[in-house]
């Protein structure tokens, strides 16, 4: 079975062999990766900003050593601030605010497996 752990290996192989598209099927699982052109467009400052993931992993809104979530609806966040985590095993990758604003809604559920570019929360 293909697991999340295989994704960056697939990406690495695509890079090595110069592939723009990869479509892999194994049993019930199918993965299709299409490479875009250049880095993803930066999120522009606007009335409404959606903070998206920049990695893959399990959504962890509350640091395991802290009592409260990094942010809640209504909180003010500053650009660059860490608003949550993506866990892979014991390692935590940050979810960063790409802009400043107030949190209007949280889209991701605790423990949810998120892919790259998944919406985590909205700012206004």
């Amino acid at each position: 079975m293909i697991t999340v752990d295989d994704l960056d290996r697939m990406l690495a192989l695509m890079g090595e062999h110069g592939l723009q598209m990869l479509d892999v099927r194994e049993g019930e699982t199918r993965v299709r990766i299409v490479l875009g052109r250049g880095p993803p467009e930066p999120v522009k400052m606007s009335v409404k900003t959606i903070i998206k993931t920049e990695a893959i992993g399990t959504f962890v809104p509350t640091h395991p050593r802290l009592a409260v979530p990094m942010v809640a609806v209504g909180d003010k966040v500053m650009e660059r601030e860490i608003v949550g985590f993506l866990a892979s095993g014991a390692v935590l990758m940050p979810i960063r605010a790409s802009a400043s604003g107030h949190v209007t809604s949280i889209h991701a559920r605790p423990g949810e497996l998120l892919g790259f570019g998944a919406p985590v929360l909205s700012l206004a």
Partner: protein, 327 residues
């Protein structure tokens, strides 16, 4: 360069310690919480033994004069890098001119500031650890003070743009329940000379870390441990973890900066794999001793190694992947 802006006494450079010089009367020293040190080094893609600054008393602040990878590990002390609040056990790229501030700990006792490539001080007898007793190692064999300048071994970054962190070691290596710090203990050579009541007290008492505790050893209060009849011992080798019982009956756990020799009877030894748990125990904290066998002790070391390797593998993978996602 890393400039110390403010520090309480007892902050100093430590790595995993100086091994192999007991016969010359040179103790091990090294970080009190070697797991936090190892995790910080793994996040930064450092050698696991790379030197860091051990900070036992907060607040503490430093300014970076060049961009450098850093990891702040161990005690959770409301860390700020410039105006950015850092989560516990976090590695990130510090920019030139930024100030890092560690405040009073919300949990734990010792914080570790690891840097890319490790703190660059000369090796003495195979280690960069500060040996206060002999006044060598670390920075001129002494504690750090305001105005000290240290440099990191590596300038370029090995971190994803927003840094990365690691979950609590206690969650990966759990031991015991409740609020007490649990450590496993092997009965030592004089164990059999203590009374039956003392044996029961050793395993069943709640022990408290007293304020007479430091890197040399922790003096505990709780029960009185008594021998069937007093014995006279010649001075003998003592290693970190040994639980000595002086005449008063209150045990002392010898730790990283312990002398290499001692003459008190030994009732037990905290196993090597659990010494880091003591490194984060502060005065007033409760301790419980859990009896272990020699085989348990070796297995516990294997478990620590397996955990560190899994973190290392994942950090390495994510470090590579972070570049891959943005193609």
């Amino acid at each position: 360069m890393i400039e110390i802006l403010s520090t309480a006494p007892l902050s100093m450079v430590q790595d995993t310690g100086r091994v192999g010089f007991y016969r010359d009367g040179v103790g091990r020293c090294g970080a009190m919480d070697t797991i936090s040190l190892a995790l910080g080094n793994l996040l930064l893609a450092n050698d696991r033994n790379a030197a860091a600054i051990e900070v036992p008393i907060l607040p503490f602040s430093v300014r970076f004069s060049k961009d450098v990878d850093i990891a702040v590990m161990g005690a959770d002390c409301a860390t700020r890098l410039g105006d950015l609040e850092l989560p516990p056990d976090w590695a990130i790229r510090a920019q030139a001119g930024e100030v890092l501030t560690l405040s009073a700990p919300r949990s734990g006792c010792r914080a570790y500031l690891c840097v890319g490539g490790g703190i660059d001080v000369p090796e003495v007898l195979g280690s960069r650890s500060t040996q206060l007793r002999g006044e060598f190692g670390g920075l001129d064999g002494r504690m750090l003070r305001k105005g000290d300048q240290l440099s990191a071994g590596r300038g370029e970054t090995r971190l994803p743009p927003a840094g990365m962190g690691v979950g609590p070691a206690l969650a990966a290596l759990p031991l015991g329940e409740g609020g007490a710090v649990h450590v496993r203990v092997l009965p030592a050579s004089e164990y059999g000379l203590f009374t039956v009541e003392s044996h029961a007290a050793l395993w069943e008492s709640d022990w408290t870390v007293t304020p007479q505790s430091n890197r040399s050893g922790y003096r505990l209060s709780g029960s009185q441990l008594r021998m069937e009849s007093p014995v006279e011992l010649r001075s003998h080798g003592v290693v970190p973890g040994v639980i000595q019982v002086p005449a008063g009956g209150a045990p002392i756990i010898q730790l990283a900066d312990a002398a290499t020799m001692g003459g008190y009877p030994k009732i037990g030894t905290v196993i090597e794999a659990d010494l880091w748990r003591l490194g984060q125990a502060r005065p007033g904290d409760m301790l419980r001793f859990v009896q272990a066998s020699y085989d348990d002790s070796l297995l516990a070391l294997d478990q620590v190694e397996t955990y560190l390797r899994s973190v290392e593998a994942m950090a390495t993978r994510l470090r590579g992947a972070a570049a891959g996602w943005i193609r």
